[in-house]
């Protein structure tokens, strides 16, 4: 059932087996695992079913480190969470991403990549993607014949998207998609407009006794649960733990000053441009396939990451249509139409299509045939580099001095990057240039920032709105906030779900791994609740 906390007086003091805080990708995925079971679940969501400015404003905060978007922009605070604006670009982590790497400080997960494989299968279903198939096996299945890159340096890399025929990307909105199932569930109570204000433990701080909730200008209450999962995203998870300081003055689970630290992002930037006499061999491979279902790029090999002592990194080629081309005009008009807007400069755009009828009709045919339209004589080919960020203890989420609408201290973000992050992207750009040169595919010119060692480069890259690392996973409490089962060290019934538990984040979008870990945690919770 789905209820509004503001209208449910009986919800002011609620008992359940499992309390999940946050109804985003992780929280909804865990809740679904208990559909139809004997376990009573309360799924607590700060927002309503749709965007509300007043609730969203609870995400506002301050940034004191590197330039970062306003903190209420990259995430969404309503049912479905940030899946309400994600792109659905998915890929699993590599084995090396989770292994200890001597050249990446504080790397290494306490679980091996193989542990996640069955959960990636299930995550694919949960995200309504296709088969859990990647890498060379997928390339073969797609019938592609990519250039013979040196496998000691680069790997072919494919991302998957959720798509719908002739519509292209159709990201799964977890809230809308799973709403009906949760609404019908008799054992699951979704409580909207319920903000967690405190996770209160016993005096020994080793067991959660209740979760305090409050509505904006509304009732307050408590939820008592046998097991509690915090699933509010990579920034908010840390914030709520730091705010829960009634028993532990430095915040819940923060005896080793790790909560909020090691904030990670994925760093992206256009690292270079490519010139070629014929882009066909590139566009036939390094492009979208099956009507944007798959996006084919390149990534650093594990061997090169080790020998160059850099992190993981990938690159996509972006073919920039010539402004005057019919394909470019069609793309711009289609983008406007999808947004429900009349295309700007409609007459000129139609004229461009007529002048380039050949190119435009070829693009339409390719689209109908399930291929991504190729760009004839692209104005530019850009190297879109997407890099892992190495863990940095001083990159962190803290509490600000001013407070939000609930009287809770806001977030203060201090995002930092380091020279190894730049070097990772430089190695990616250089290697692409060397390999494309060797294969006769063209020449690459690196952007100045990629070669700048004075720190100025940080202004030329952007974040990806992927918030990771702030409650990192480690076997020992001195090294991590949660253990290998995502349980907060020292607190027997508190778990954390989401990318905040990632000790390192690879270069891939985090949602697929968030869901895989959430499903794994759900299995753990089932065992815990069955045993208790």
């Amino acid at each position: 059932m789905i209820e509004d906390f503001r209208e449910q007086a009986d919800a002011a003091n609620l008992d359940c087996d499992l309390c999940i805080i946050g109804a985003g990708a992780a929280g909804v995925s865990i809740a679904r695992e208990f559909l139809g079971s004997a376990i009573s679940v309360c799924l607590v969501e700060s927002g309503g079913l749709d965007f509300e400015a007043e609730t969203q404003a609870l995400y506002e905060g301050e940034s004191v480190g590197l330039s970062y978007p306003d903190l209420d922009i990259p995430r969404l605070r309503y049912f479905g969470g940030s899946t309400n604006h994600w792109s659905s670009q998915c890929a699993p982590l590599d084995a090396l991403d989770m292994a200890p790497r001597s050249w990446v400080a504080d790397s290494g997960w306490p679980i091996e990549r193989a542990v996640l494989e069955p959960f990636y299968d299930r995550a694919h279903t949960a995200c309504d993607l296709g088969e859990n198939l990647y890498g060379e096996a997928l390339i073969k299945a797609l019938g592609l014949a990519p250039p013979a890159i040196d496998p000691a340096k680069l790997r072919n890399y494919v991302w998957q998207y959720r798509t719908r025929p002739n519509l292209g990307h159709a990201p799964l909105r977890f809230g809308a998609f799973y709403r009906e199932a949760l609404e019908k569930a008799v054992n699951i109570r979704v409580l909207l407009h319920a903000n967690v204000t405190d996770i209160r433990t016993n005096n020994e701080a080793n067991r959660v006794e209740h979760v305090a909730i409050a509505a904006l200008d509304g009732p307050a209450g408590r939820i008592r649960a046998r097991q509690v999962v915090l699933a509010c995203g990579g920034i908010e998870n840390a914030r709520i733990m730091l705010l829960s300081d009634k028993i532990e003055p430095n915040g819940l689970g923060n005896r080793h000053d790790l909560v909020g630290r090691y904030f990670l992002e994925h760093i992206t930037g256009f690292g270079g441009r490519m010139v070629t006499a014929d882009s066909t061999p590139l566009q036939e491979n390094y492009n979208y396939h099956q009507n944007t279902k798959f996006w084919f790029g390149l990534a650093l090999s594990e061997a090169l990451q080790g020998s160059a002592e850099v992190a993981n990194c990938a690159a996509l080629l972006q073919y920039v249509p010539n402004m005057e081309s019919g394909v470019g005009a069609l793309r711009r008009m289609w983008a406007d139409i999808r947004e429900g807007e009349v295309p700007d400069d409609l007459g000129q755009e139609v004229l461009r299509v007529i002048k380039d009828l050949d190119g435009a009709s070829t693009a339409i045919w390719q689209r109908l045939a399930g291929k991504a339209p190729r760009v004839a004589n692209p104005a530019e080919i850009l190297l879109d580099i997407r890099s892992e960020q190495v863990p940095n203890r001083d990159s962190r989420v803290m509490l600000a001095d001013d407070v939000d609408g609930l009287g809770l201290r806001r977030t203060r973000l201090d995002w930092r990057m380091g020279e190894q992050d730049r070097r990772t992207m430089e190695v990616m750009g250089r290697t692409l240039g060397e390999e494309f040169g060797r294969l006769g595919l063209g020449r690459v010119r690196l952007e100045d920032w990629l070669l700048a060692t004075d720190g100025s480069w940080t202004g030329d890259v952007v974040e990806s709105s992927h918030h990771m690392g702030t409650t990192r996973m480690a076997t020992m409490p001195q090294r991590g906030v949660v253990d290998e089962h995502c349980r907060v060290h020292g607190v027997e019934n508190l778990h954390v779900a989401g990318s905040s538990v990632f000790p390192t984040g690879g270069h891939v979008n985090p949602t697929l791994t968030i869901v895989a870990l959430a499903l794994r945690l759900a299995d753990t919770l089932k065992d815990n609740l069955a045993r208790a």
Binding site: G433, G437, R438, G440, R443, V444, R445
Partner: protein, 119 residues
């Protein structure tokens, strides 16, 4: 003429043969006519010589790049192409003004910058 994508494409990259099948190649022979856009090649060459002042010696550069090259018209292009392929295969690349080039490619540009090859 500024160094930009188009000029590099025409000059240093395409004219040196640079393994781009189907490209509109500029004239290249052993009479010193090498580039459609010599200014772009000269810019790359100037950057290369600034990075490697010890190579500012046209005779030595020419000897290193063109030794053993066939003399018939058109064959010099193939000779330089082959040297570029060998360089890339061996990892003998340089970054010049951001461009990732075969060392032979960059040295040919340096020869243009030194006036030892004239468009």
């Amino acid at each position: 003429m500024p160094i930009n994508r188009r000029n590099i494409l025409r000059g240093a990259v395409l004219a040196l043969g640079a393994m781009m099948p189907g490209a509109a190649m500029s004239r290249i022979d052993d009479h010193g006519v090498l580039f459609q856009s010599p200014r772009a090649a000269r810019t790359v060459g100037t950057h290369y010589l600034a990075q490697h002042p010890e190579e500012r010696n046209a005779a030595r550069l020419r000897q290193g790049l063109l030794a053993g090259a066939p003399t018939e018209t058109g064959a010099l292009r193939g000779h330089i192409q082959a040297k570029c392929r060998q360089d890339f295969a061996a990892g003998h690349t340089v970054v010049v003004d951001g461009w990732i080039l075969a060392r032979s490619e960059a040295r040919a540009c340096a020869l243009v910058a030194l006036g030892a090859l004239v468009a």
